[in-house]
């Protein structure tokens, strides 16, 4: 399996653009962001695996956000994260361009929904990187709310991209349905755990724990991550955009 990110940055084939390549590059960068945060935390702050604010509230370590905010892991995570956002912006641009280029066209509701969902997702993705700046030790709510908005808007963009297909297959339909339900349950679980933990602390509790049973919380969290990996690395391949270029000073 070739690394897409490097090729797309330094030697892209701009005469044949496959938007899904950019989606895969986004996945690579976000995968490396998470992997580097776990590995660097393991070497530099291993105590965080046993004690951190997210673990206290959820009862388990979320591999997606638990270790993104700590020095020195956050420096490397930010580099991969910024490139991930860059590729995500491109995926959205090229996907929208392909939608416009397709002569079949979309009805106005679907087209508008697709455009707004994709644009909102770009802002959401950029905002998501702020979790790297906002340490959950100091800002537990800001940290988790940024993650929650990302889960929500990602769910919306998956639906929007699905609506662009005239005849989606059954697997894709099921994927979108399951992903939407998982995203909503995941958001609810995070909110319930955080609200109840704060209530417990406010009422003087000393041994506050997660409200959602551990096995349920972990299952939904990991199911959401697996769906993200599936969407990124097994993209539902659309048509490639073929281009020819010329350059001149004339308008």
């Amino acid at each position: 399996m070739k690394i897409k990110s490097i090729k797309l940055l330094f030697n892209p084939d701009l005469r044949k653009i496959q938007p899904e390549d950019y989606l895969r590059a986004t996945g690579e960068c976000f995968g490396l962001m998470i992997l580097s945060s776990i590995i660097l935390t393991y070497f530099f702050s291993p105590e965080l695996f046993n004690e951190n604010p997210i673990l206290n509230r959820l009862g388990y370590n979320s591999i997606f956000i638990s270790f993104l905010s700590y020095v020195p892991a956050n420096y490397i995570a930010l580099i991969f994260g910024v490139f991930g956002v860059y590729f995500a912006i491109h995926y959205n641009r090229y996907d929208l361009l392909r939608t416009r280029l397709n002569s079949s066209g979309l009805n106005s509701f679907k087209e508008k929904f697709s455009i707004y969902a994709n644009l909102t997702y770009l802002f959401s993705l950029t905002a998501f990187l702020l979790v790297i700046f906002l340490n959950p030790e100091n800002y537990p709510w800001a940290n988790i709310l940024i993650f929650i908005q990302f889960i929500f808007f990602r769910g919306m963009v998956v639906i929007a991209n699905f609506l662009e297909y005239d005849t989606p297959n059954k697997f894709y339909k099921n994927y979108v349905l399951i992903n939407s339900i998982t995203s909503l349950i995941f958001i609810s679980f995070l909110l319930i755990n955080y609200i109840n933990y704060d209530s417990c602390l406010a009422s003087g509790g000393t041994n506050c724990k997660n409200t959602i049973p551990l096995y349920l919380g972990i299952s939904i969290d990991y199911l959401w991550i697996i769906q993200g990996i599936l969407y990124t690395f097994l993209p539902f391949q659309g048509e490639s955009i073929k281009l020819q270029y010329s350059a001149s000073f004339n308008d």
Binding site: L9, F10, P12, L14, V71, N74, Y75, L78, I79, V82, F83, V85, Y86, I89, R93, L97, R98, T99, R100, L101, N102, S103, G105, L119, F123, T126, A127, L129, L130, I132, F133, L134, E239, I241, K242, L243, Q244, Y245, S246, A247, S248, F249, D251
Partner: protein
């Protein structure tokens, strides 16, 4: 504003690489303004005491976005700066390949190499928001200063590709390159001088470079950066033709 045009109304029929460089400049300007306003409201004390002021004797424009919460507001514009800068590099490289017949080999190589280096260098901007001067003044400043130097090389390479630049454009490019190098040298000299003086027991250190001179060079560099969209002459437009598909 090019930033708004390229985000919401990008034209797929043609690409003007310099538009992306201009949008990057606008993003940096917004980053500075939003950061400064936020700092004035929430952490005004940062303008009275900070590690850059101690070493240079004046407040650099970037001081405005160095402290939270200004960092959080400045960050999205930093992402825009990275996006537009990488786009410029990729499209400028594409144009270099398209017009290679009229370029001598070294100019072509210089352009492609500087564009590739810029793609790596530019990541320093969001990173310096995380590595603020209180974390490490050297790492923070070097992340910014390397962008200053690499960007000057990119602007120079873009100029060298241009077939018949006007004298105004020529003067601008050489002035910008010179001021980028002088600004870099002044900062390094002041930082080394400060570290040596502190190591020798000094508690208050006067900057090595006269404040008015260093500040003049620094502020003039920013002014030159914003002048770029007015003075720099854009190269060829890249016209794009889509095979088989038609624009809906």
């Amino acid at each position: 504003m090019k930033t708004i045009d390229l985000i919401f109304k990008e034209k797929p029929e043609y690409i003007q690489p310099e538009d992306y460089l201009r949008a990057a400049g606008e993003s940096l300007f917004l980053m500075l303004v939003i950061g400064a306003i936020t700092s004035v409201i929430f952490v005004p004390e940062v303008f009275k005491s900070n590690p850059i002021l101690e070493r240079m004797g004046y407040n650099n424009f970037c001081v405005g976005f160095d402290m939270a919460p200004a960092t959080y507001f400045a960050f999205p514009f930093g992402i825009l700066y990275v996006y537009f800068s990488i786009q410029f590099s990729i499209y400028d490289r594409l144009r270099t390949v398209i017009v290679e017949d009229r370029l001598v080999q070294w100019k072509k190589n210089f352009s492609i190499i500087t564009n590739n280096i810029y793609i790596v260098s530019i990541i320093g901007l969001p990173l310096l928001l995380l590595v603020n001067p209180m974390v490490s003044i050297w790492a923070h400043s070097l992340l910014f200063l390397q962008i200053v130097v690499v960007r000057a090389l990119v602007v120079l390479a873009n100029y060298l590709e241009y077939p018949k630049p006007s004298s105004k454009y020529t003067i601008y490019v050489y002035t910008y390159t010179l001021f980028s190098l002088i600004g870099f040298s002044f900062a390094i000299a002041n930082y080394i001088h400060f570290d040596n003086a502190v190591a020798n027991g000094a508690s208050i250190v006067d900057p090595l470079i006269p404040v008015s001179l260093a500040m003049g060079v620094d502020y003039f560099w920013f002014f030159l950066m914003f002048l770029q969209s007015i003075i720099a002459e854009p190269g060829e437009k890249i016209y794009v033709k889509y095979n088989k598909l038609k624009l809906a």
